[in-house]
Amino acid sequence: MRIPCPFCGPRMLEEFVYLGDAALMRRPVEGATCDYVFLRDNPAGRHHELWRHEGGCGAWLVVERDVTTHEIFGAALAEARDAG
């Protein structure tokens, strides 16, 4: 699988580290809640997830991927996104 890092270009999977659902970016302002820490949706299809390009630029990326086919629809710098 290749992830299209917006900074480095498409790179092989081994260069990345996976964290989890991109919902982790939306940490409640008042502090972490149980839902934030422990609950996730788990769709069999497209969803947004967080990867770090640890072997390359080190940036955190929000990647849209279909987990049933591994097709990747895009990757954006987490830093540049609205956490909203």
Binding site: R52, A59, A78
Partner: protein, 975 residues
């Protein structure tokens, strides 16, 4: 001497004779031969014994689909089993041996299994060898395993080198037959970067095996000219002996290139194999098709071959596999073999299973007939032919060429989950609609069975894939081929489908009777298709038979899934250079060479090598060294390399506020020039890591982590910076590698450091108080940072210098009278001081468990882990909390991992009061000591408990004590 070699023709080089041996007999072949073709040329037909029944076998094919002619090539550590003689390139001095026989190949004692075949059918081990039950494991299974099998490994370490490499191209062409060559020419002439991968050692595919013409010249000559043109194009890379074995996500193809298996004396430095990862956004699968046999009685004897393979032996290798041939065919293609055999001087009878086939070419022909049985122990000698009316007669035959039609080699199209489609008109599966992204299929691989269609299709697909003009191709035959599906002769006995796993038609019928009717069940119950050839010549006929039995169509019966690899790949090739010492990179500290030269033994800590202890003089055991290092440090001065602990440089206007959100305690209030202990939690409230923070400037901090967690902490901090709080102005840089760092500790440390720092530097308690830090200059102007921190509990500093000075500083510290100590002594001293480390920060413990509830308790701002730490379960008062332990008998040993129990309690999960987390022999106290987590914690100080370890048989009385065994008031630290 080569009795069955034709005097002219073929692609072998008669001017280059090659001696080789098989089973100890020496023969001669030619350059361009495979081991199989050379053996056939020498009259050898028997090349193996079958897996289960030990039936005599010879080659069925001339290619990678070979089920029978499996040999071991080479000896000693280089012995390589299960190689197919039909693809093994011949070289001078090749030494091969047959496999799976007791005694000789001609007189294999295990052939007795064939007499017991009625009891050894599919799944026999589910129904027999049941009694007595105890005999299964000790007798039956070992016997069965020994009796069956293919080749054997040498058991010696592999002496060869392998490598993994990457290749990039605009177009990967898989296969160099007519379709592949035209695709490569189309792309190559258009200036695209092309890789043409061919499993064989010559390009051309089937063109090398046929006698017809392409472009008005012999097919093999046209192929050679096309290959020469491609070789001369700088943008085309020809990779022979390279099998593309798999398609993977992200348009990556796995390909195995064999560099040296055809060379007697390989050039030095050339790895035996290269595993290529080919990055190709577009690919043309031009992998051709594999012929399928027909199942009839005793259809597996040596001398019974696929009809297309016979043509390959005759046309490419100039070998005549038999002089009295019977061609048994259900398609037009078999007739080509009849013609080529006759032209080579053989007598040919054609048995065409199709009644309507109207041909008179001068052969003795039986239309609508079938070969039903054969005779001949080590080589076929007679066949029984059934005529359309039902009468049978026997005919002398030393060669039977069988053609049941062709099946496209579409495996790669299915590797990413695609499913093939059945076409009735060619009675074959063709690639389905969902192909791997970027892949096109051309030629016989997609069901185009005429040469002209293959040539045109290859050019057209490459043109379409790349948006370039298709190359105009040569003329070639375009005869419509007819095939009737004819899987087996009904009622035949010992009719083999999967010759490698000895699976017969009767086994498939058994599977059907017992309810294993789906393709996946039939495969696993009978083991058909599960051998090293993956059933390449067996799968389709078996499906055809199961479909007949169930009254369904083949598409309704389904196929099994195809997964990589298409052909066997050695695990060593996948590993490449990642083996032995180079399994992963080794990280060396700046003092490594000095430590090695001064008696250090090293231990792996993740990727790092750290000095574990330093052997001195006559010290015999590690305890001698470690005890001495602790004693000398606590009595004088010692130094330890702590470079491996993560060091993160934090800068920016919001640096302090950012760190406050990452750590449980407050760091923004740290004055410039001071250090503070820092505790970092996970978001679920459990302790993640600990370290120190030093403030070097108003907007400049340096934080440390444990060695083990350095990477994860940096990752977590970067996540917080980029994903949670990108609005904060803060930058994080890992400087673990930039600075060599030593802990220098002991009552005499100031005397040591006075010789290291520049003269006049104030190391007094007033000038450099406990927990102070700052830049400094060592003698000779070496820049440094000093931190007055102590992990050992002694008066101590940590000194950091740019890594290039690490070696020199170690020398200087030793020269100044500090004793080097390793991570073992470091561990002893921190246990003596009750410092939590990795064993205590094990992912289950909270700050309160560690006795650190007060750290940051008054903090009013938020931090990661704050909310979840307050969950009831993590605040419960009976959670096991950190205590110290001493054995009541000072000579007893404590064990990390042991449980703690009340003295009278029976050892059970419910009665366990906690566990021992760290243990050390304390030279300072003269006994084993430990840190433990105990329900009730320090409220139980003074109590006597039982340390119990059922695994290692320990039961020791212990006393609960202060975990700070040495200097609990901290006087040494602050002096």
């Amino acid at each position: 001497m080569q009795a069955d070699r034709l005097s002219a023709g073929g692609l072998v080089d008669r001017s280059a004779p090659l001696p080789f041996s098989f089973d100890g007999e020496v023969y001669e072949g030619f350059a361009g031969d495979t081991l199989a073709s050379a053996l056939l040329a020498n009259g050898v037909r028997l090349m193996g014994r079958s897996f289960k029944y030990h039936r005599p076998r010879g080659p069925l094919s001339a290619g990678p689909e070979e089920p029978n002619a499996l040999v071991t090539v080479g000896g000693g550590a280089k012995a390589d089993p299960n190689l197919r003689a039909t693809v093994q390139e011949l070289y001078a001095g090749l030494s091969a041996a047959s496999q799976n026989r007791v005694g000789s190949l001609r007189f294999d004692l295990m052939a007795v299994n064939d007499l017991l075949h009625r009891f050894l059918g599919a799944g026999f081990y589910y129904k027999t060898f049941m009694w007595p039950a105890a005999f299964w494991e000790k007798l039956y299974e070992p016997l069965i395993r020994r009796a069956a099998g293919l080749g054997a490994l040498s058991g010696l370490p592999d002496p060869d080198e392998y490598e993994v490499a990457h290749a990039h191209c605009d177009l990967l062409v898989i296969g160099s037959g007519p379709a592949g060559l035209m695709a490569a020419l189309t792309a190559g002439r258009a200036g695209k970067r092309v890789i043409l991968a061919e499993e064989d050692f010559v390009l051309g595919g089937r063109l090398n095996a046929e006698s017809f013409e392409v472009g008005r010249k012999p097919a093999a000559l046209w192929a050679a000219e096309a290959a020469a043109e491609l070789a001369a194009l700088p943008n085309v890379r020809l990779m022979r002996r390279t099998a593309v074995f798999g398609v993977y996500d992200g348009a990556v193809y796995g390909a195995l290139e064999r560099n040296t298996d055809h060379l007697g004396a390989p050039p030095p430095g050339l790895p035996r194999m290269t595993m290529w990862k080919v990055h190709a956004t577009r690919a043309i699968l031009a992998s051709g098709a594999i012929e399928r046999p027909i199942a009839f009685g005793n259809n597996d004897r040596p001398g019974i071959m696929l009809a297309g393979a016979v043509r390959a032996y005759v046309n490419r290798y100039a070998v005549l596999p038999g002089r009295r041939a019977v061609v048994f065919t259900a398609c037009d293609d078999g007739w080509r073999t009849a013609r080529d055999l006759r032209a080579a001087g053989a007598e040919v009878t054609v048995v065409d299973a199709r009644p309507g086939a109207a041909r008179d070419e001068g052969f003795r022909t039986i239309r609508g007939g079938a070969v039903v049985d054969t005779v001949g122990r080590l080589r076929v000698s007679h066949v029984t032919i059934r005529h359309p009316g039902g009468t049978e007669d026997s005919a002398s035959a030393d060669l039977v060429a069988v053609s049941g039609g062709w099946s496209p080699t579409l495996h790669l199209t299915c590797h990413l989950g695609g499913k093939p489609i059945w076409r009735d008109d060619i009675a074959a599966f063709v690639p389905g609609v969902a192909l791997p992204p970027g892949m096109h299929v051309a030629g016989a691989a997609r069901g185009d069975y005429t040469t002209l269609a293959c040539l045109r299709g290859g050019a057209a697909e490459a043109a379409s894939a790349l948006g370039v003009a298709a190359v105009e191709g040569p003329d070639a035959e375009d005869g419509a081929a007819s095939v009737s599906p004819f899987w087996h002769v009904k009622g035949a006995k010992r009719a083999f489908l999967d010759q490698q796993n000895d699976v017969t038609v009767k086994d498939v019928e058994l599977a059907h009777r017992e309810g294993f009717r789906a393709a996946e069940h039939m495969k696993r119950y009978t083991t058909l298709g599960m051998a090293t050839d993956q059933g390449k010549t067996a799968n389709i006929p078996a499906l055809g038979i199961m479909a007949e039995l169930t009254g369904r169509t083949i598409p309704e019966t389904g196929t099994t899934t195809f997964r990589p690899p298409w052909t066997p790949v050695p695990i060593a090739a996948l590993a490449g250079r990642h083996k032995g010492e180079h399994f992963h990179p080794t990280r060396l500290t700046p003092s490594h060479d000095w430590a090695k030269a001064n008696g250090a033994d090293f231990v792996e800590t993740g990727l790092w090598l750290r000095a574990q202890w330093f052997r001195r003089g006559a010290e015999k055991g590690w305890r001698d060294s470690v005890d001495r290092e602790v004693t000398e440090t606590r009595g004088g001065a010692g130094f330890c390399d702590v470079t491996t602990l993560g060091k993160i440089d934090v800068k920016g206007r919001d640096a302090g506020a950012f760190l406050d959100r990452l750590y449980r305690n407050t760091l923004s209030t740290l004055p410039v020039g001071r250090c503070r202990y820092g505790l970092m939690l996970r978001e679920d409230g459990i302790v993640f890591d600990d370290g120190t923070a030093a403030r070097l400037g108003e907007h400049h901090f340096l934080v440390t982590t444990t060695t083990a967690k350095a990477v994860q902490v940096f990752r977590q901090m970067e996540f917080a910076r980029a994903c949670l709080w990108p609005e904060m102005e803060v930058s994080l840089v890992s400087v673990t590698e930039q600075w060599a760092q030593y802990s220098v500790a002991g009552p005499k440390v100031r005397e040591v450091l006075a010789q290291i720092v520049e003269p006049g530097f104030d190391l007094s308690n007033e000038g450099f108080p406990y927990m102070a830090c700052g830049a400094a200059t060592l003698r000779d102007g070496v820049p440094a940072r000093l931190f007055r921190l102590s992990f050992s509990g002694e008066l101590a500093w940590e000194i950091a210098v740019p890594a290039r000075y690490g070696h020199g500083l170690a020398e200087a510290l030793a020269g100044a009278g500090a004793v080097p100590y390793g991570v073992e002594a470091l561990g002893v001293m921190r246990v003596e001081k009750g410092h939590p480390a990795g064993n205590e920060l094990d992912g289950r413990t909270t700050a309160a468990d560690l006795g650190l509830a007060a750290l940051g308790a008054k903090k009013s701002t938020g931090f990661i882990g704050r909310e979840m730490e307050r969950r009831e379960g993590l605040q419960a008062h009976d959670r096991p909390a950190l205590v110290g332990l001493r054995p009541v008998d000072p000579t007893a040993r404590l064990l990390a991992g042991a449980h703690l129990l009340e003295p009278g309690a029976a050892p059970k999960t419910e009665t366990s009061l906690g566990w021992v987390s760290s243990v050390a022999f304390s030279p300072s106290l003269g006994s084993s000591i430990g840190l433990a987590f105990l329900k009730g914690g320090m409220a139980r100080k003074g109590e006597r408990l039982r340390m119990w370890d059922g695994l290692r048989g320990a039961d020791v009385a212990v006393e609960v004590v202060n975990p700070v065994f040495i200097d609990p008031e901290g006087a040494r630290l602050r002096g």
